[in-house]
C-alpha cells in the first residue's frame, strides 16, 4: 500500500501481468481455502503448518494464520518432549527471520516472534538482541521496521534483565555513528531517569516492572534526571548538533533537556470578595472540583457550597468558583478565616479576610512557583551560558538554521526571560522569515513568552494591571495567572477572540482590547466586577456575539466603534434593549 510507484506499461505487458496475477490468485485462494477447511475441522497438524507457512511468507499480515499456527504449536507442545518443543520453536524463529527479511514491518510477525520467544523452554535472549542489532542495521529509516525493532528490543531487555547502563552505552554507540538517532535519543530519555534519578529513591529498575500498575512516565520531565547527569547530556547533545546542525533529533532532545520541572500540585491562589460573596480558587493544573474533594472551611465550619468552573465548557479547569451563603461574609466589620482543602492531594490554602477590607487573597507568585523559569544552580547557569555562547557562534555560521535560532530563544528564556526580551522578539521575527510554514507557531510561542514576561513585570511592580499592547499577540494563555487582575490592556494586537478561558479573570473591572481582529467574546462570561469594555476596531459582526455581555451585571461602558456590527440597522436601539445597564454606549 505504501511506496508503490505507478509504472506505465504497454498493452502486452499489461496482459502478461494480468495472466501472472490470475495464476498467483488461484494458488493463493486454493491455499487459503485449504487452510480454512482444516481449521474448521479442528485439524492441528504439520500440513497445516506448512500451508500457513507458504501463505505467511508472502502475506505476513494475514493475522488469522498466525493465530492458527499458535493453536497448532500449543497443541504440539502438549504431545512433544521438551527438546522437540525447543527445536520446534527454534524452527519457528528461523521461519520468522525470513518473514521479517521480506517484510520487516509486519505487526503480526513481530508479535508472533515475541510470543515464540516467551514460550521457548530455553530462550536465547542474546540471539534476540543480536537480531535487533542486525535489523536496525538493515533499516535506512525509510521503513517502519525501525519502530518495531526497538519495541522488540525493549521487550527482550525486560525479559532478560539487560542492565540499564548497558543499554545506555548502546545508544551512545548509535548516536556516535549518527545512526537511528531519533530512536536512540528517545530511548535515552527513558533510560536516564532510571539510571540517574534525581531523588534518592529510584523508580523500579526497568527489568522489574510491577504488574499491577504501569511504570511512571519519567521521560516527560527531564528534571527527573539528577543534575550532574543532565549537565553531561548537554555536552553530548551539543556535540551532536555541532557535528550536524541539521540533525533534528538532537534539537528535539535538547529542548527536553531545557524543560522545567513538573509543577508541584497545589492551590496557587485563593480570592474572596465580600461584595459578590464568592470565593475563587486557582490550582496549579486543571482539576475537576467534584472528583477532587474540594472543601471550604469558614471560621472552622465546613461550608456546603457548589463549585462551578469558570465556564461551562470546562469540566476540568484551573479556576473554580463558589458562592457563600448570603450574609456569611458581607458585613465588613467581621474578620473571617477561610481554608480551601484539596483533599485528593492532601493540601490546603488559608486566606484571612480582615475587618474593613472588602476583599482578600493569598497567592504564590509566578516566580515562587518557578512557573516560567526554574531556579538554576550556579553550575547549571554557567553551563547554559556557555551553551548560549556556542549556539550563537553556530548561528553566525548558519544564520538560517531555525533549530539553532529556536534553541537560542529557549536558552535565553531559561537564563533571563526579561533581560533577553528584545533579542527574543528579534529572533522570532527571523524565525518567521526562515521557517515561514511555521510562522503561526512562532507567533503563538512568542505571544506566550510575552505574556509570561508581562506577568513577571506585573508581579515585580506589585500591581494588578496587565498591559501588553502592540506586541503581535496572536493568542492568550496563562489566563489562570490573571485571576487577580483588575485592568487589562490588549490593544493593537492580532487577537481573534477572547476565549472561554478569559472567564478566569474574575476580578476584571476594565478591559481594553481595541485594534485587534476579535469576533468572538466567549470569555466575557459572568465577570462580576467588569465595568468598562473597549473593543474599538475589531470584527464583531452580529448582535448575538454580544449576548454574553448580559451576564456581566456591573457593565456600564461599552465602546464598539469600528466594528461591522455597528452597521446593522437600528443597532443603537437593539443594544440598548439587550444591555439596559450600559449607560455609556459608543458605536
Amino acid at each position: 500500500m505504501h511506496g508503490r510507484v505507478k509504472l506505465k506499461s504497454t498493452a502486452q505487458q499489461e496482459e502478461e501481468k494480468r495472466k501472472e496475477r490470475e495464476k498467483k490468485l488461484k494458488i493463493y485462494v486454493a491455499g487459503r481455502d485449504a487452510i480454512f477447511t482444516k481449521r474448521l475441522e479442528g485439524v492441528l497438524d504439520d500440513e497445516a503448518l506448512q500451508l500457513t507457512q507458504q501463505l505467511l511468507s508472502s502475506n505476513p499480515d494475514f493475522a488469522t494464520l498466525w493465530n492458527y499456527r499458535r493453536e497448532i504449536l500449543l497443541h504440539l507442545e502438549t504431545v512433544r518432549e521438551e527438546d522437540d518443543v525447543q527445536k520446534m520453536y527454534e524452527a519457528e524463529l528461523l521461519f520468522l527471520e525470513s518473514c521479517l527479511k521480506v517484510n520487516p514491518k509486519s505487526y503480526g510477525s513481530w508479535h508472533h516472534r515475541g510470543w515464540v520467544s516467551a514460550r521457548l523452554p530455553r530462550p536465547d535472549w542474546a540471539r534476540e538482541l543480536g537480531l535487533c542489532d542486525r535489523c536496525l542495521s538493515l533499516d535506512d529509516r525509510n521503513c517502519e521496521s525501525e519502530v518495531h525493532c526497538w519495541d522488540y528490543r525493549r521487550m527482550v531487555v525486560k525479559m532478560s534483565g539487560v542492565p540499564v547502563d548497558q543499554e545506555l552505552q548502546f545508544t551512545d554507540r548509535l548516536i556516535g555513528s549518527n545512526f537511528s538517532n531519533y530512536s536512540s535519543w528517545h530511548y535515552r530519555s527513558t533510560l536516564l531517569p532510571l539510571l540517574h534519578p534525581e531523588s534518592p529513591d529510584p523508580p523500579s529498575p526497568c527489568h522489574q516492572h510491577s504488574h499491577s500498575s504501569p511504570p511512571p512516565s519519567p521521560q516527560t520531565h527531564s528534571h527527573r534526571v539528577c543534575e550532574e547527569q543532565l549537565l553531561k547530556e548537554y555536552e553530548l547533545v551539543q556535540n551532536a548538533f555541532f557535528t550536524d546542525p541539521n540533525d533534528q533529533s538532537a534539537w528535539f532532545y535538547y529542548r527536553w533537556l531545557l524543560g522545567r520541572a513538573e509543577r508541584e500540585e497545589m492551590i496557587s491562589c485563593v480570592f474572596v470578595s465580600r461584595e459578590e460573596e464568592r470565593v475563587a480558587v486557582a490550582f496549579s493544573r486543571p482539576v475537576n472540583a467534584s472528583s477532587s474533594g474540594l472543601m471550604l472551611v469558614l471560621d472552622g465550619q465546613p461550608q456546603r457550597v457548589e463549585w462551578r468552573s469558570v465556564h461551562p465548557h470546562f469540566r476540568h479547569s484551573p479556576v473554580w468558583i463558589c458562592a457563600l451563603p448570603p450574609g456569611t461574609i458581607s458585613d465588613i466589620i467581621n474578620e473571617h478565616n477561610l481554608t480551601v482543602h484539596w483533599t485528593e492531594k492532601h493540601t490546603h490554602r488559608d486566606c484571612a479576610l480582615y475587618t474593613g477590607r472588602s476583599e482578600s487573597w493569598c497567592r504564590d507568585s509566578a516566580t515562587d512557583q518557578e512557573l516560567f523559569r526554574s531556579e538554576l544552580s550556579v553550575e547549571k547557569t554557567s553551563v547554559l551560558q556557555s551553551e548560549l555562547q556556542s549556539c550563537n557562534q553556530l548561528l553566525e555560521l548558519e544564520p538560517q538554521n531555525k533549530w539553532c535560532l529556536l534553541t537560542i530563544v529557549l536558552l535565553m528564556r531559561a537564563l533571563d526571560p526579561l533581560g533577553y526580551e528584545r533579542e527574543t522578539l528579534s529572533h522570532f521575527q527571523t524565525l518567521k522569515e526562515v521557517d515561514s510554514m511555521r510562522s503561526a507557531y512562532y507567533g503563538d510561542l512568542c505571544s506566550k513568552f510575552m505574556i509570561e514576561n508581562t506577568i513577571l513585570k506585573m508581579e515585580y511592580a506589585e500591581v494588578r494591571v496587565f498591559s501588553l499592547s502592540d506586541k503581535n499577540l496572536t493568542m492568550l494563555c496563562h489566563l489562570d495567572q490573571l485571576l487577580l487582575v483588575t485592568h487589562i490592556n490588549l490593544s493593537c494586537n492580532q487577537l481573534l477572540r477572547l476565549p472561554p478561558q478569559f472567564a478566569m479573570l474574575q476580578c476584571l473591572e476594565v478591559l481594553e482590547a481595541d485594534d485587534n481582529a476579535i469576533e468572538n467574546l466567549d470569555g466575557l462570561y459572568y465577570l462580576p466586577k467588569l465595568q468598562e469594555v473597549s473593543l474599538k476596531n475589531n470584527q464583531i459582526s452580529k448582535l448575538s456575539d454580544l449576548q454574553l455581555l448580559t451576564s456581566c451585571p456591573k457593565l456600564t461602558c461599552l465602546d464598539l466603534r469600528g466594528n461591522p456590527v455597528t452597521q446593522i440597522a437600528n443597532i443603537q436601539s437593539e443594544l440598548t434593549e439587550l444591555l439596559p445597564s450600559v449607560t455609556d454606549l459608543l458605536i
Binding site: 510507484v5 527513558t190 511555521r438
Partner: protein, 331 residues
Amino acid sequence: MGTQVKDVVIKSDAPSALLLDKHADYIAAYGSKKDDYEYTLSEYLRMSGIYWGLTVMDLMGQLTRMNQQEISDFIKSCQHDCGGISASIGHDPHVLYTLSAVQILSLYDNVNVLDVDKMVEYVRGLQQEDGSFAGDKWGEIDTRFSFCAVATLALLGRLDAINMDKAVEFVLSCMNFDGGFGCRPGSESHAGQIYCCTGFLSIAGQLHQVNADLLGWWLCERQLPSGGLNGRPEKLPDVCYSWWVLASLKIIGRIHWIDKSKLRSFILACQDEETGGFADRPGDMVDPFHTLFGVAGLSLLGEGQIKDVNPVLCMPEDVLERLGLHPDLLS
C-alpha cells in the same frame, strides 16, 4: 557532513484541482474487484477497507452508490460467538475490525444487526490489569487498541463498560519526552499512535493532560518543504499523515500551526487523474486507504465540496450529530 531533508518534489504537471467525481467512481468500482489478486490479499483487513470506502463516499455525498444490504449481511456474518468482529468471513475477531464494523453500521444507523451486548463484553474482556487493551485473545498490547476500544464503546453509548481511569493511566504512561505517544510505554512517538492517543483522551475527557504546545510543535514539524506531512522526523511525506497529524492538531487546537495551502497542494498532487483515488505520494499507486485520508484531510482543511469530518472518529460530523456524540477538542 549534513543530513539531506528527505522529501518529494511535486512536478509542475501534478494535479491541482480536486477530482471528487473520479474518486467516487474509483471507490464505487473497487468493491467489484473480487477476482483481483491485490484485493484478495487484503482480505485480512476487509472490514477496515469497507469502512474506508464507505466513509469517503459519505464525505463526498455518494454513500447511496454502495450496497448497504450486502454490507450489512457481510458484517453480520463476521460476528463471532465471543462477540468480536473479524475482518472477513473465516478470519478471527479483533478489536480493529470490531471498531470498523461499528463505524460502518453507524453510517447506516443499523448497529442493531449485531449482538451489541456481546460485542461490549468482548471489548471489556480485552482490557488488561494495567488498563491497556489487547487486540484480541492473543494479547498484543498497543495504544491503537485503547483507541479502538473506547471509540467502539463511545459509538455504542457504552463507555461505562470499561475501567476508564485505568485505561487513561495506561495511555498517559505512553507519553514521551517530546509530548508524543507510542504503542506501549517506552515506545517512540509516531503520528499514528499520537492520533490514537489524542483521540482516546478526547473521548475520555482528559485532553487537558496533553502538553498541547509541545506536542503541537512536534506535529507541525512534520510538514516538509513539499507541503506534505511525514509521520516522524526524517521520513518521507505520506498523504495518510495528512490525516493522522492534521486530526491530532485539530484535536489539540493547533491546526493553524500547519501551512494549510501548502498541505492542500500536496494532497491534491497525490490524486491520480487517470484512475481516480489518492496514493501515498505523487506518482504512486492509489488505494482506498489513502483516498479516505486524502479526502478527510482536505475536509479538515475546510474544503467546501466535502462534508465536515470529525477529527476524533474520522466519520462525517452529521453521523455523530445524529448519535449525539461530541468528543472534546482543545481550543
